[in-house]
């Protein structure tokens, strides 16, 4: 039994989950900052990005060391590859949170208007996808991961309808263009978060089943 190696794999998983928790929290805070226009929450998001980036480097280094020193095979090799990719996706989730926080800061210069896009609902769907994908990662559950893939369409639909509704708003009420554009970009950020959750779910399926389901491939 390669006990020491498998302990190191457990450590890697644990570190990734700590980072995942931070990325998830960053999105929640950024969306809350948008909802209540709270700049102090934006500062927390920006600060957390520094930690997320440092986790990304640490996890990549751990994975690189394991690849170089332990020559993993089969499910262990797939696990480490999945971790490297999930790590990159989580770091991008953190970046999306920072983008949202930046938009919220910029929005401070404009009056609050009622916009035809339900950002909190979109955020809650995207966050649920991230949470479910990570749960699938924790439990090595490919079925749960598969269920995440079907959720992405809902977020895409909200994003598409937000695009049309906000475009119309800009045409009809040009004075609200800055707010509409910021909201459009935030919707886009959340749509990207959902895409990252989809990637994470695909990586879990690859790890557990050895199947590449990206781009609607089934093997």
């Amino acid at each position: 039994m390669r006990i020491r190696f498998h302990r190191k794999l457990d450590d890697l998983k644990e570190r990734l989950l700590v980072m995942a928790g931070m990325a998830e929290q960053a999105i929640q805070r950024a969306v809350e900052a948008y909802r209540v226009r709270d700049i102090s929450l934006c500062d927390l998001v920006v600060r957390s990005e520094i930690s997320i980036n440092s986790f990304e480097r640490e996890i990549d280094q751990m994975a690189l060391d394991l690849l170089a020193m332990e020559q993993p095979m089969a499910i262990d090799l797939r696990f480490i590859l999945a971790v490297i990719k999930i790590n990159a996706d989580l770091e991008r989730v953190g970046d999306q949170a920072v983008s949202i926080a930046d938009r919220v800061r910029d929005l401070q210069a404009f009056p609050v208007v009622d916009l035809p896009v339900d950002i909190p609902r979109m955020a809650s769907l995207a966050s649920a996808m991230v949470r479910k994908a990570l749960q699938a990662f924790i439990e090595a559950d490919a079925e749960l991961a598969t269920s995440v893939l079907t959720m992405d369409d809902n977020v895409d639909k909200i994003n598409d309808s937000a695009f049309f509704a906000l475009s119309n708003l800009i045409k009809e009420q040009p004075r609200h263009t800055p707010q509409a554009l910021h909201a459009l970009m935030i919707a886009r950020n959340l749509e990207r978060v959902a895409d990252h959750a989809t990637n994470i779910a695909e990586d879990v399926i690859f790890w557990v089943r050895g199947a590449d389901v990206r781009h609607h491939q089934s093997t």
Partner: protein, 252 residues
């Protein structure tokens, strides 16, 4: 992809110990096939059955069929003929210590009755070239003994000796396990070169080595062939849980 060796329902015993149990597989021609598995799993016994070496053990017994090309090696050929057609390289290089480098390579041919000096010279040079040893020894062919070479060179000398009789198949039983990384890399490069002309079966404990040199890999456990598949499949996504447990070190 032609089949070089076809094994059907092969069983082998050492006394009452049933060391190989009903092995069937097709080894493709002009490819390298790796055999992996824990110590005592039967992989070395298996390769020794492929050139009738197993029966040289007084308590060894074999049943089943091994076809090399069209020949049923147990029914239609003598052990001597089979060992000419199927060369073997062992874990520890075993050159004839008192013979010169030249005589080591020529020994197989001489045993088969070749005496023509010119032919022998040509075969010795060609075999040493094929074994990637020629440049290192060409000036000392008759001056130095096989035993005076380094471990890695001795192993390549043994490969040259096996190639000199122009076999169809080369069996290699842990050919690099006693060598340093540089010599190991040379042997692996050599296997890569040789497989365009020969069918190679390599027993190895080094899974990275199997992954590097072999197109197909078989996993043996407790005398049974658990899984035989493309090497990339075995090492990234094996079908059998036992294979996965072995290659990921979750055994025992």
């Amino acid at each position: 992809m032609g089949v070089a060796i076809e094994v059907s329902d092969l069983n082998a015993w050492y006394g009452t110990n049933h060391t190989l149990q009903s092995i069937s597989l097709k080894i493709p021609a002009n490819h390298a096939t790796a055999l992996i598995g824990p110590s005592g799993c039967g992989k070395s016994t298996f390769v020794r059955c492929l050139n009738r070496m197993h029966e040289t053990n007084p308590i060894g017994r074999v049943t089943g069929t091994v076809r090399v090309g069209q020949t049923d090696i147990y029914a239609q050929a003598s052990p001597v003929e089979i060992r000419r057609r199927i060369g073997m390289v062992f874990q520890r290089p075993n050159p004839f210590p008192t013979m010169s480098i030249y005589d080591n390579v020529a020994s197989g041919l001489r045993l088969n009755g070749f005496r023509n000096r010119k032919v022998l010279d040509e075969v010795v040079e060609r075999s040493l070239q094929q074994a990637a040893l020629w440049e290192e020894v060409k000036n000392d062919l008759k001056k130095k003994s096989g035993a005076s070479l380094s471990g890695g060179q001795q192993q390549r000398l043994c490969i040259a000796r096996a190639l000199a009789v122009d076999p169809e198949v080369m069996l290699m039983d842990e050919p690099a396990s006693a060598l340093d990384p540089v010599s190991t890399a040379k042997i692996e490069d050599l296997i890569f070169q040789l497989k365009s002309q020969y069918t190679i079966v390599i027993v190895t404990h080094n899974m990275q080595q199997a992954a590097r040199v072999a197109e197909n890999t078989g996993f043996f456990l407790n005398g049974k062939l658990v899984e035989f598949d493309a090497t990339h499949k075995i090492f990234t996504n094996p079908t059998d849980k036992r294979t996965e447990d072995y290659i990921t070190g979750r055994f025992g």
